[in-house]
Amino acid sequence: MALQIIVTAKQVIDPEIPKSAFKIDVATKRVVVPPSFPPVVNGFDEHAVEAALRIKDSQEAKVTVVAIGKTFALEIMRKLLAMGADELVLVQDPAIEETIDSRVASHILAAAIKKIGAFDLILCGRQASDWDNAQVPLLLTEALGLPCVTIAKRIEVRDGAVRVERVIPEGQEVVEAPLPALVTVSNELGLPRYPTMRAIMAANRKRPTLWKLSDLGIDPADLQPSLHLVDLFVPVSDRQCEFIEGGDERQIAQQLFQKLREARLI
């Protein structure tokens, strides 16, 4: 029996956009990005797909990626198929509003995962680079009644259990949980693979499964958040940088050292 792996993914605003392009519309409390910066797959979710593919490299497995959103840039999400995922399920519905209340997203994802069917392992990126909430995976764990291990750098599946090397502040630890289980993946896993040209072409021919909320039996009226955004603003840094210049590197470095000593920082 092939191992059934589900990976959750999110389409997000490119976190690498320059500061100057990052603007907030105060009235709607939304980030506005110039069209020259296309969205991307959340970075940690690519790590989660990579983790799934590494398992698939060593044993028979099927990798299904699921994402929810109001709209998707298909060519962006297809990258996950090109990397090697077998199926892509997109729950796309105009009623899916971006909200800071993670409960809404986890509610929809839990319903989508149940509809996908039996699974052994769910992998999620440790957090999304927009709200940085790090909550959806843990809420899914509760909704689906699964054991959960967070911040994995290495994942091994054998004998009906998942063994996870995870990052802790003092180093790392190895945790084991019985399947089915949910594991969140961090960048310590290592860089996700680049799709080959041939895989990109093949992915372009694959059709994602498209579902609406009604396919999941979800009434949009049940998606009301209870955590509300009061304000969204860009913090101002009041620090003024004093550039130390004049003279060669030796003189500049000595000036710096002097200033730090005077400020009793050294």
Partner: protein
Amino acid sequence: MPEATGVLVLGEGIAGRLTSTTAEMLTAGHQLAAAMDEPLGCGLVGYQLEAAAEEAMHCGADKVYTVDDPLVAEYQVELYLAALTQICRTAAPRVLLMARTQSGRDLAPRLAARLGVPLAQDCLEVTVDIPSKSLLATRPVYGGNAMARVRSTATPQFATVRPKVYPPAVADPQRRGEVIAVPVALDPAMVKTRVLEVVKEETAGIRLEDAKIVVAGGRGLGGPEGFQPLEQLAKALGAGIGASRAAVDSGWVPYSWQIGLTGKTITPDLYITVGISGASQHIAGCSGAKCIVAINKDRDANIFRYARYGIVGDWQKILSVLIEAAHEFRQSADTP
């Protein structure tokens, strides 16, 4: 159901002592409780909690709710969740606070799910609106590029707070309070995840989180060999050493060196960065530094927006002079 009232801090006690992060949460909790004129409680899970409970009362808790059981002598996620859920149901607080520590990060969202409420995660500030008594929580989003202020319309209003943002509460040994033992039927069968092995990385120098001075390098160092002079500088200054995510992702130095949103949060007096561009996710881990010195060859690098002192130039030459100066300074300080 009794009407929800007061603030409850879910704390951690390790080896009979309240953690300093818990004392920080009691500071935040006390401010909110005082503003609302309502009591402050503290929930503790562990074994032989008498001393930690006492300490929580010294730090401002009016009531301490404990689940004191040998089964939870060590942290175990499923058992802790069961215990914390019961503490929250017993205390029925209006506001619930927890530190976003390693365990808090895993526990809080799951606890929120069990209580049926949303969670404001990783907040830098929590205040309360009077007279509505609603909690306003401010948290970084978009990798620190923006801040979101959020309000919850559920009860309890639940927030996790980033460590080292609030100062720890000062203990007053005269303060007294009440300890309430919360009965919970903990069952070893609840345990699903098991820790098989813990590998502690030897840190040669000073713990980054505690260091007064930290030096760190990024992609601009060009390779692992660039960290050698940086280590010399750290040694000469008695500093901790760290790195940006770009440097650890490139495999130049271990992940335990990573400073940033998903790495370590540091709050030194002096933070010297070399070849770090200052992506928002890096700033998220070092914005608590009192003085940032940035050495970078790109004058437009984002790091200079946060730096007190900036140097645009060849980091190798600058570092070698700094190492020399630090050695000389140390020698002159050692010989009066």
